[in-house]
Every structure is written in structure tokens, then in C-alpha cells.
């Protein structure tokens, strides 16, 4: 049992870490909040004073705001559906005994280690380029007109690129979960005459519930901030301007720190709403 002294000593020793962590989070947050109430234009003399909620009103009333929220949620939703569904299928596949299993697994996981900028460039120039890209050659081989992916199907293209990057993460988590499944349970179901679909629906899927929740929660946090892929491929054009991208444009291209900070605060609020929503709906699985 800890004595009064040892508890005080523990607090004292933990203090630097706590202060550091608090400062790490609080300083940027407070600065964002402060700037969001100011007219702060670096190229026009910097701090031009307090403006109340002007920046907040201007940010949401701009014609770019709602499309950017929709774009953000489309990317998050699209990528989550693709990675979870394909992740489950790949996890089941990789769990089967096969020749060269180790190498296959490494190949499947590999995309996760490629930097987002690099993978976006590779997809843009080597696959999706309508003149030199692999897809264009494939389309031409079958006598079809090449598709200008990034301009004609910009959103699906970006969802595809981001999904490709995040699929390994989902697969890895789900594969680990599948491997922890008791094989006797499956054998028993098989002996009782349960067909594969039912075995999947009643045994495997419920067992994966917790892993799926983790995949959705972690990916959502990161996907809300997708940036490099859009920057490299479409530059925010063709309806792919997400909330993060809009904030970047406001702060760095328009040099309006106040307006961008207000956008940043909205992004924090949006992320929290999404997180609470997810926690309520799917987070229950974590208690089970």
C-alpha cells in the first residue's frame, strides 16, 4: 500500500510528463481558439484585432463549406466500407493454409509502409494517367477509350487510393482476430451441418465484432485528416476538397490565419461528433 510520501513522490516524478503532455495539446488548441476570434492576416499587417464570431460565420457561410463536409464524409465512409469488407475477405483468405503464405502476407501488408505522397504519385502517374498509365493501356488493349480517372471519376479514384493504403491495416487487425478464433467451434458447426455462409454469419463475423470496431475507430480518426493524396492528385478540384484541404487553402493559400483557425475548430467539433457517434453505435462492442 502506498504511503502518503510515496504518493507525493510519484506525483512529483510524473509532473514533468503531465505538464509536457498538457502543454503539447493545450498550447496549439488555445492558439487555434485565440486566432479564430481574431482577424489575423500575415500579409496585411498581421494581427488586426478581435472580431468575435465573424470568422466562424464566414467559414460556414462560404459556398465551399458544405461541399467540403460532404467530401470529407464521403471519403471516410467509402474507405471504411471498402477496407472493412475487403479486409474481412482478405483476412479469411490469408488464414487459409497456402503455399508461400509468409510472402503473400508481407505483400498484402506492404502498401501500409508506403508514404501517402509516394503512393498518390504512383497511382496518379503509373496507373491512372490517361495517356501513359497502366489502366489507359489496359482500356486501349480492349478497344475502349481511356478514362481520365482523376478528373472524371475523382472521388472514387481518391477513395480507391486511400483504401489501398489502409486495407493492409484492416487486414492485419482482422487476421489477428480470426487467428484467435477457436477452431473447435467451427469444426463443431461444420459437423452439425452448418453451411459456410452460416458459419461465417453466426460464428466468424460476431467474433470479429471487436476488431471491426477498432478498425473503424482508428481509421476514422486518420481518414478525417486525409490530405496528401488530394494535394498530389487533384489539388482539391473536381469536388474533392475536404474540410482539411479547405482549412489548408484558407490559412496557407489565402493567408487568412483567423478564418482557417475557425475552420480548424469546426474540424475538431466534427471529429468529436463523429467519434461520439461511433462510440455510441459501434463502441458497445468493446464492452462485450
Amino acid at each position: 500500500m502506498a504511503t502518503q510520501h510515496s504518493r507525493s513522490a510519484a506525483r512529483l516524478m510524473m509532473a514533468p510528463a503531465v505538464v509536457l503532455l498538457l502543454g503539447w495539446m493545450l498550447v496549439p488548441l488555445i492558439m487555434t481558439l485565440t486566432f479564430s476570434f481574431k482577424q489575423y492576416l500575415p500579409l496585411r499587417g498581421g494581427d488586426l484585432g478581435w472580431v468575435g464570431f465573424d470568422n466562424y460565420v464566414r467559414f460556414v457561410s462560404s459556398s465551399a463549406f458544405w461541399p467540403s463536409v460532404v467530401a470529407t464524409l464521403t471519403i471516410v465512409g467509402g474507405v471504411l466500407i471498402i477496407t472493412v469488407v475487403l479486409g474481412i475477405l482478405l483476412a479469411i483468405l490469408l488464414n487459409q493454409p497456402m503455399w508461400g503464405q509468409g510472402i503473400v502476407r508481407i505483400l498484402v501488408i506492404a502498401p501500409f509502409f508506403v508514404m501517402p505522397t509516394v503512393s498518390a504519385l504512383v497511382w496518379k502517374n503509373m496507373f491512372m494517367d490517361p495517356v501513359n498509365g497502366l489502366f489507359a493501356h489496359l482500356w486501349k488493349f480492349f478497344g475502349a477509350e481511356p478514362v481520365a480517372w482523376l478528373s472524371e471519376a475523382s472521388m472514387p479514384s481518391i477513395v480507391m487510393i486511400v483504401s489501398w493504403q489502409w486495407l493492409p491495416f484492416a487486414t492485419l487487425i482482422l487476421l489477428t482476430a480470426i487467428q484467435s478464433l477457436d477452431s473447435e467451434q467451427l469444426e463443431a458447426a461444420e459437423m452439425d451441418g452448418a453451411p459456410p455462409i452460416k458459419r461465417f454469419g453466426y460464428i466468424i463475423l460476431p467474433h470479429l465484432g471487436r476488431a471491426i470496431t477498432i478498425v473503424i475507430l482508428i481509421q476514422t480518426i486518420f481518414l478525417l485528416a486525409v490530405f496528401a493524396e488530394i494535394f498530389v492528385t487533384t489539388g482539391g478540384a473536381f469536388g474533392t476538397r475536404t474540410l482539411t484541404y479547405l482549412i489548408y487553402q484558407r490559412v496557407l493559400e489565402s493567408q487568412n490565419v483567423g478564418l482557417g483557425s475557425a475552420g480548424g475548430v469546426y474540424a475538431i467539433i466534427l471529429a468529436n461528433i463523429v467519434a461520439i457517434f461511433l462510440m455510441r453505435i459501434v463502441g458497445k462492442n468493446l464492452d462485450a
Binding site: 500575415p42 500579409l43 494517367d129 490517361p130 492528385t233 469536388g239
Partner: protein, 435 residues
């Protein structure tokens, strides 16, 4: 100690101290392109001459722009010299953020700097940055394809000729597009190109009261012309093509014509990189029939001194060295005439050695045809050709160019894009207090 010894000691100390005060260490922020990297390699020459040492902070273009802007706006004082472009210089000069460069020595010969460059790097007639190198835009075309099409490129063609020639050179089965142009969103990419195209149709961004002009017929004509020509003869997916994408296409022999930065001339004529190196011709950027302004822009990477630096004199010495005639000769002696920084000085284009470089004359003619103080047919309240030198422009033009790129991709009509551009530009200008 005798009086003489004291005097000697005092003199020696004064000399040492004054020497110490003069030998500075300059911190210079610069962009990571070939000419600047070359300058870093030659810095020893400057140190030998002046005793000052130099510390380089080399950054990628976008990062540099953000870094120096933040530093100068927040008065960070991290740099003694900054590499900036024609967009920043007049804005920063007007804000009093830069040291005026109006007292260079006679040998420096400030009048030798091309007038267009001086104009673009000045505010109210005062030079605030010295051009290290400059560029305009021009037509680069395939002489073999032009000949096969039975046409001859005039030195100063019109858009109508370009459109006909592009259609004649297009051969979709052989993967040859008549013309490759920038359609990529971004103020410095497609935004820059459509702006100069619009200028050459008589359009402008703002009238003298800073009202957006996208509701005027010239803009509609320019954008419609561009979109139609590109759908007839441009590459698939040009809505996402910028400088690099078009450079690749041209080097692979997939473009009949390409209108872009004069600096690209050395890349498309270099046999190590280009499959069509020996059949490239050059011509002035086009204009619409009856319009005097051509679709050529003007840009310079220039060196400037942030106001408030403690090392102003040494910084000026460096800028004099790096942008002087002697520096050009130093590079020529070390690396050959084709590699000297182009587009800044008149004397370079009078040099018989440089005249042998195939694209030298057309680069000069293009630069001379560009006038940043008077960029459009109708009067405008701004300086700059492919941009308006106001702080809000980069943000506005990026959004406008996104609307235009959506037209190129067939996602909206020219009218819709222009209406959106008009509304968002006026909103931003109102918010910034111009209207």
C-alpha cells in the same frame, strides 16, 4: 608603455575590430532548383572576395514560400536574404518589409537589368529584389509534325492559327495530341495559364474599382476557346496536367505544340531527356486576332533583404555578387554558357557566346513582350501578368482555377464556372476590404 606602442596597439585593435564587424555570416533562404544549387557551389568566390561567409537554407518552392512569408510577417528575423518571386516582391515592398535596393554600385549597372524584370520586382518605382533569373512563356513546337501538316509556324502566331495547326497535327491513333496546355487547378499552374490566355483575348481579372470581371464577354470567349481547342486536340485528362505532366508528354513526342515557361526550352532540347530534342522550334506566345497583348507571362526568382536585418550591407554585397555580370561569366567559365541564369540582364543577350544557344533569342523576345505594370488591354489596378500582386490573389485564383478545371473535365459549363468565379472573387474582395 610608450605612447607609440599604445598608438600602435590601439590602431591594430581598431583594425581587427573593424575587420570583425565587416566579416559577417549571412543566412540565405533559397529554392532547390538547378540554378540556385549551382550558386551554392560557387559561394567560395564570394567569400574570397568579401570575407563574408554564407549559410544556405535550401527549400522546395512551396515550403520556401510558406517559410519566408511566415518569417517576414512575424518578423522572425531568421534570414538575411530571401529568395522570393515576382508575386511577393511588390506586396512586401508596399508593406515596408524589404530593404529598397536603390544604391547599387556603378559597376553593377542596374540599368542592364531587363526593364520588365525591374518593373515586376518594384513597388512605386523602387526596386525591392534583384532578379537572379527570369522567364516568360513561349510556344515550343515539333518542326517535323508542323512540316508533315503542311504548315509553317509564324514567329508571332495567333490563337486561330494555333487551333488550326493543333487540329492538323493531332493523330489520336499515333497518340499525338496537337497541343498540350496546363489545365491543373492551382494559381501557379492552370490558373496562371488561363489568366495569360484571357489577357490575350482582352480580358482582365479586375476593373479599376477591384470588381471581378468574369461576367465580361472576353472571359467567356477565352475560356470557351481554350476548352474547345483542348477537347479537339488536347491530351485526355488535361484537366489534371500541369508543367511537369506536359513536359513529360512533350519529351515523349506526344505533343505537337506546348506553350509554357521559357525555361522548359533547355529540357525539351536536351537529347538525354527528350526523344524529340532535334526537332523543336520556338515562337512567341499567341494572341487573339486584333488584340495586342500576347499570352506570355513573366516570372523571376529574385533576392531580397528583409527590413530590420543587422547585416544589410553584407547582404547587399551578396546580392550584387549573385546577380552581377561577373557572376554570369563565372558560371559560364565553370559550367558552360547554356547553364547561366537566363532572363535577367540585357547584356547576356548581347553576348555572342550566348546568342548561339538555340532558344536564347526567343526567350528574350518573350520576356520583352511582357509588361507586368501594364498587363492587359484594359487598365487594371494591379501589377503582374499571370497574377495580381495582392495578398488575396493566391487563394482566390486557386479556387477560380478549380472551377475552370471542372469545366475542362466536363463537369460544368463555361457559364456556370464563370458565374461561380465571379461570385467567389467578389466575396473575397469584399471580405478583404477592396470593394
Amino acid at each position: 608603455m610608450s605612447r607609440i606602442t599604445t598608438l600602435c596597439t590601439a590602431t591594430a585593435m581598431a583594425l581587427v575590430m573593424s575587420g570583425g564587424a565587416f566579416a559577417e555570416n549571412l543566412v540565405i533562404a533559397t529554392v532547390n532548383n538547378g540554378d540556385m544549387i549551382r550558386m551554392q557551389g560557387l559561394t567560395q568566390d564570394f567569400t574570397d572576395k568579401t570575407g563574408h561567409t554564407v549559410e544556405w537554407v535550401t527549400l522546395e518552392e512551396n515550403v520556401l514560400r510558406q517559410r519566408v512569408t511566415t518569417d517576414i510577417a512575424a518578423k522572425g528575423g531568421s534570414f538575411d536574404i530571401m529568395t522570393i518571386g515576382m508575386y511577393e516582391t511588390p506586396i512586401w515592398g508596399a508593406n515596408g518589409w524589404l530593404v529598397p535596393l536603390d544604391d547599387f554600385s556603378a559597376e553593377y549597372d542596374v540599368d542592364d537589368i531587363l526593364p520588365a524584370m525591374r518593373g515586376g520586382l518594384s513597388h512605386d518605382g523602387t526596386l525591392y529584389a534583384a532578379p537572379f533569373y527570369g522567364e516568360s512563356s513561349m510556344i515550343m513546337y515539333r518542326t517535323d509534325l508542323m512540316e508533315a501538316a503542311g504548315l509553317e509556324m509564324p514567329t508571332a502566331p495567333t490563337w486561330q492559327f494555333i487551333r488550326e495547326a493543333a487540329a492538323a497535327m493531332t493523330d489520336r491513333d499515333a497518340d499525338i495530341n496537337g497541343i498540350c496546355l496546363r489545365g491543373k487547378a492551382g494559381w501557379g499552374e492552370g490558373g496562371a495559364f488561363i489568366t495569360v490566355t484571357a489577357n490575350s483575348f482582352g480580358a482582365r481579372w479586375f476593373d479599376e474599382e477591384w470588381n471581378a470581371q468574369f461576367d465580361q464577354p472576353e472571359w467567356k470567349e477565352a475560356l470557351t476557346f481554350f476548352t474547345e481547342m483542348m477537347s479537339e486536340s488536347g491530351p485526355t485528362g488535361y484537366a489534371t496536367n500541369g508543367f511537369n505532366e506536359n513536359l513529360n508528354l512533350f519529351q515523349q513526342g506526344k505533343c505537337g505544340m506546348w506553350i509554357d515557361a521559357t525555361v522548359a526550352a533547355s529540357f525539351v532540347t536536351n537529347p538525354n531527356d527528350s526523344t524529340v530534342a532535334d526537332s523543336v522550334g520556338f515562337a512567341l506566345a499567341p494572341n487573339a486576332e486584333g488584340v495586342e497583348k500576347r499570352a506570355n507571362w513573366l516570372w523571376a526568382w529574385a533576392l531580397a533583404i528583409p527590413a530590420g536585418t543587422q547585416k544589410e550591407d553584407a547582404a547587399k554585397e551578396f546580392i550584387e555578387w549573385a546577380t552581377s555580370k561577373e557572376y554570369i561569366e563565372l558560371v559560364a567559365a565553370n559550367e558552360g554558357w547554356a547553364n547561366v541564369p537566363p532572363g535577367a540582364r540585357t547584356s547576356l543577350y548581347e553576348n555572342p557566346n550566348y546568342k548561339e544557344v538555340p532558344f536564347a533569342q526567343m526567350t528574350l523576345d518573350s520576356i520583352l513582350a511582357a509588361d507586368p505594370s501594364n498587363p492587359t488591354v484594359k487598365p487594371v489596378p494591379y501589377v503582374g501578368i499571370q497574377f495580381a500582386a495582392i495578398p488575396e490573389f493566391a487563394g482566390i485564383a486557386t479556387e477560380v482555377s478549380q472551377e475552370f478545371s471542372a469545366v475542362y473535365a466536363g463537369q460544368q459549363t463555361v457559364e456556370e464556372a464563370l458565374a461561380k468565379a465571379q461570385a467567389l472573387t467578389n466575396d473575397a474582395m469584399e471580405a478583404a476590404g477592396y470593394r
